[in-house]
């Protein structure tokens, strides 16, 4: 059936508000009598807290409260773990140590909050922070992942025997045996360093306690308003119905806004109740660099075993993963890394050991890609080296190893981040790779352009990689669709929105089912008073899990519409069609009734609603996939390196993306562009530099560089659609895809460009300086 709205480049419903300054962000909330919070944070990464003197701060005019851990009494409790360790893997070791609201005895990372100040203005609150005297006794900091496990290392958590946070092994087949029979073993050490998410909007929270109605309202820049509500209610001793959490327009999420609970997220609502006043806290950019979660830091000892014709016999990946000071997010990131270290390939034997380490650095939780870029980097890099060694073209070696299209669903026999068995639901990898090669004129470049340019002394190179992205994991999302008396449609769902275009793509699904204009579908999202079942926007799942729940609700409403219209129009349901906001008899279009009139008839003021039926044209439905759909694609790029300045110019960039059914290609392209830009940052610009004391040396946007317009190439995007069999829409996620393959691609293209240096790039991120060092090592 041809679709009228799904798959169309429909302009976004939310844009007029965003473009005129009319959209509500958390910092825009203004309540009479509102107080403002600021935090005193630790300057040291690791230190004993000896004493705090807050007397001068308390005396400053305009200061309302100054709170230390001691002041919280019994209400001082570490945060709840967000995800538990996987129950289905044997011998998993997991030491749960969660973040604390305010430092009580020991500081474990620079920027950890020690004192909360509440004042009549943010300016006064920050003045008062300066008044506080804190006596900290600095300790050696645990920074280096490998040294952290040495027996004489200082401990991040003194009650543990070591800095080991978790340990787990996953296996498929028998790698140890197969490596003995391999024609070629490629073994390398791979180092991936830290980066930041850098959403343009920092975090923020406004809490308002209304003592008369005994009701707490919280505006939070979270990706997960419903779990925040549930957790706040539990922690504050309130009923879930006494707490409303609103995630309004959120200025970019990219993962860290999925972390919960940040210390501030618990403290601000708590103090609002204590003081009986609305309280606002808005993170500044410096705090964002220290106190908002980060990602990517891992060290890999990776090995690939191959036959002499380039077929992969097995992959082994021994991973050290940096958890930072606490581990509330469990094993999500390293599990994702393991699940992507086999890439798009038919790998019969796999061994992977993950050791998670506590360090005196900011916590790590998923950042766009969430462990996947590291896994893809490992498998793609090893394959590149094997191809070189065996004299096989990089495209050819990938084709020889792809999971063939007839092998889906493909069971990897290990578990994924959702603790489900890693099964790739569907895929068709080869055409995506071939298309990416065609789009970038791979043959022409390698045979004609590159030799000519090299002869001129220029360093130009090409790269092409494949990737997979596990998306759309459970547990579930839900939605309620209502036809209102105006004939317009209201949709409520629980996932928050951070720029993904939900107000439009979700509306397209409803418009498709109910035959109304997309602009007549009004979506409410991220407000627990409108819909209070669900988990959140993470793991590239909105267009899969929430979208299919919305589709199911809209379908149920469609059935109610047809049933009622059939009675009223005296025509069989199968002869009716929904078009232009009306139900009409297909063959006799003048016999029709508008959805608004039907909605009124379905909700009568007199008469009876028959037993066993429901009033109104409304339905609520849920969708929970057994496991996630695996999106995939291929990226290719051409670069030129200036070997004087070591600057890299990306001359061309092509993407083939397959995320199943595309609901709105315009929005998907926007997601890919943004993802690639973050991937370019992760490859060449963005590195959080910690010194040996655990001090972050580049905690500002002047020092930590994210790509600006002049660093970005023009990206050519093409879609392929291999529908997921796991959901009625056939969709898979696309939110993180753009970022995932870029570092592996960047490395391959750079090696090709610098062919005369015989360079191996086994680390990310690079920089012009680092490239210079590598070339002169």
């Amino acid at each position: 059936m041809t679709k009228k709205f799904i798959g169309k480049r429909i302009l976004r419903n939310e844009d007029p508000r965003l473009l005129t300054g009319g959209a509500l962000f958390v910092d825009d909330v203004d309540i009479p009598g509102m107080l403002h919070a600021a935090f005193l944070r630790s300057d040291y990464a690791h230190a004993h807290l000896r004493s705090i003197d807050v007397s001068a701060a308390r005396e400053r005019p305009g200061v309302v409260a100054v709170i230390t851990a001691e002041d919280m009494g019994d209400e001082w409790q570490p945060g709840p773990p967000l995800v538990s360790p996987p129950p289905t893997v044997e011998n998993v070791l997991f030491n749960s140590r969660t973040q604390v609201p305010l430092v009580k005895d020991k500081v474990r990372h620079a920027g950890e909050p020690i004192v909360l100040v509440i004042a009549e203005s943010r300016y006064i609150a920050e003045d008062a922070v300066e008044d506080i005297i804190v006596d900290l006794e600095p300790l050696d900091a645990v920074v280096d992942l490998e040294k952290a496990l040495e027996p004489d290392s200082v401990l991040v958590h003194d009650d543990l025997d070591s800095n080991l946070a978790a340990h787990l092994v996953q296996k498929k087949g028998d790698y140890a045996t197969i490596r003995e029979n391999a024609d070629l073993l490629i073994k390398r050490r791979i180092v991936i360093d830290r980066g930041a998410a850098v959403a343009m909007e920092n975090r923020g929270i406004v809490a308002q306690w209304d003592p008369k109605s005994q009701h707490l309202t919280v505006w939070d820049t979270t990706q997960a308003p419903i779990p925040i509500r549930n957790g706040l209610a539990a922690r504050l001793g309130l009923s879930e119905h006494q707490v409303r959490v609103i995630a309004p327009f959120v200025g970019g999420g990219f993962g860290p806004k999925m972390m919960m609970f940040y210390p501030e997220e618990m403290l601000i609502p708590w103090i609002s109740i204590k003081l009986n006043r609305p309280v606002k806290w808005i993170e500044d950019r410096r705090e964002n660099f220290y106190a908002t979660t980060q990602e990517r830091e891992q060290i890999h000892e990776a090995e690939m075993a191959l036959t002499r014709d380039g077929r992969i016999l097995g992959v082994s990946d021994v991973i050290l993963h940096d958890s930072g000071a606490y581990d509330p997010y469990g094993l999500t990131i390293p599990l994702n890394t393991q699940c992507h270290a086999m890439g798009a390939y038919d790998v019969p034997n796999f061994f992977s050991e993950v050791t998670v380490i506590f360090t005196n650095k900011t916590l790590t939780t998923p950042v766009r890609g969430a462990g996947r870029p590291q896994g893809i980097f490992v498998v793609e890099r090893l394959l590149d080296l094997a191809a070189k060694e065996l004299g096989i073209d990089p495209i050819e070696i990938r084709k020889r190893n792809f999971i063939p299209p007839e092998s889906f669903p493909y069971d990897h026999q290990i578990i994924d981040q959702a603790f489900a068995t890693l099964i790739f639901d569907s895929g068709n990898y080869r055409p995506a790779l071939e298309k990416a090669a065609d789009m970038i004129d791979f043959e022409q470049f390698v045979k004609v352009d590159q030799p000519r340019l090299r002869a001129e002394g220029r360093h130009v190179g090409i790269g092409i990689v494949s990737f997979v992205e596990t998306t759309g994991v459970g547990p579930y999302e839900g939605a309620r669709v209502t036809v209102e008396a105006s004939g317009k449609i209201n949709v409520a769902t629980g996932v928050g929105t951070q720029g993904q275009g939900h107000f439009t793509s979700f509306a397209q699904i409803v418009a498709e089912q109910l035959g109304v204009d997309v602009s007549d579908v009004h979506l409410v999202t991220g407000d627990t008073s409108a819909f209070h079942w669900g988990t959140g926007t993470f793991a590239s799942r909105g267009a899969v899990v929430a979208a299919n729940a919305i589709n199911a609700s809209a379908l149920a409403v469609r059935q109610k519409i047809l049933k009622l219209a059939s009675e009223i129009l005296e025509a069989p349901e199968e002869e009716l069609e929904l078009e232009g906001g009306k139900v009409r008899v297909a063959d006799v279009p003048r016999i029709s009734i508008s959805l608004g009139e039907l909605a009124v008839l379905a909700n009568p003021l007199r008469g009876a609603v028959e037993p066993g039926t429901e009033p109104g044209l409304e339905a609520t439905a849920y969708f929970g996939p057994k496991y996630g759909g695996t999106a995939f694609g291929a990226h290719a790029m051409i670069v030129e390196v200036d070997t004087e300045t070591m600057m890299v110019e990306i001359k061309r960039y092509t993407v083939v993306e397959d995320c199943g059914t595309v609901i709105n290609p315009l929005i998907v392209e926007g997601q890919i562009h943004g993802g690639v830009s973050m991937g370019i940052g992760n490859s060449f610009y963005e590195k959080l530099v910690y010194d040996e004391n655990g001090q972050l040396l580049n905690a500002s946007l002047a020092d930590y560089l994210i790509p600006s317009a002049t660093e970005m190439p023009h990206i050519e995007v093409s879609h392929q659609e291999t529908q997921s069999p796991l959901n009625p829409l056939g969709s898979k996620g696309a939110g993180e895809a753009g970022a995932i393959p870029v570092p592996s691609l960047f490395a391959q293209a750079l090696e090709d460009a610098l062919y005369d240096y015989d360079l191996e790039i086994m680390e990310m991120p690079l920089s012009p300086n680092r490239l210079f060092e590598l070339l002169h090592e």
Binding site: T20, G21, F25, A199, G252, H673, S677, A709, I715
Partner: protein, 162 residues
């Protein structure tokens, strides 16, 4: 104690007179004193460009200025460009080319581009990229923004030049 200073400023054509602390940032003044929350604050150190407003027609970082420095001057914020019902052609182009995702950086990009397009009615891609290179956007990768600016240039070019 807090010493207050009078400031009189025209914002989007309306005159405002307030008494403020000399240290109050212009960005905070616009957002929290005047309630014009369309101007966003992303870094407070003048790098990200989200807080850009037009100061006597020129783009400035409102997080790097004090409100009192605006005394006697004219400011245009994103709220002064177009309305939801009647978008400015530049805003319209951002919608049509999908130049906005989360929308947080957008107000500063729009205010940066207004004088740019006045001075360069027919910019090429490189000129556009340089024009917005002082505004950070984490969502779009800038490509659709560049397309939006090209579209806006077409829409805004005077008819007699076509």
């Amino acid at each position: 104690m807090r010493k207050l200073t009078d400031v009189g400023v025209s914002v989007n054509g309306t005159n405002y007179n307030r008494s403020v602390e000399p240290r109050l940032l212009l960005s905070d003044f616009l957002r929290h004193e005047l309630g014009l929350t369309g101007t966003h604050v992303g870094c407070e150190h003048g790098v990200c460009g989200a807080c850009t407003v037009l100061f006597d027609g020129k783009p400035v970082r409102s997080c790097l200025m004090f409100a009192v420095q605006a005394n006697g001057h004219e400011i245009i914020t994103v709220e002064g460009l177009g309305t939801i019902e009647q978008l400015h052609p530049l805003q319209e182009s951002f919608r049509e080319a999908h130049g906005v995702q989360c929308g947080f950086c957008t107000p500063g990009i729009l205010t940066t581009l207004i004088p740019f397009l006045e001075e360069n009615p027919n910019p090429d891609e490189d000129e556009i990229m340089h024009a917005i290179s002082g505004n950070l956007c984490r969502c779009t990768g800038y490509q659709h923004i560049v397309e939006a600016v090209k579209l806006a240039a077409q829409k805004m070019s005077p008819v007699d030049e076509v």
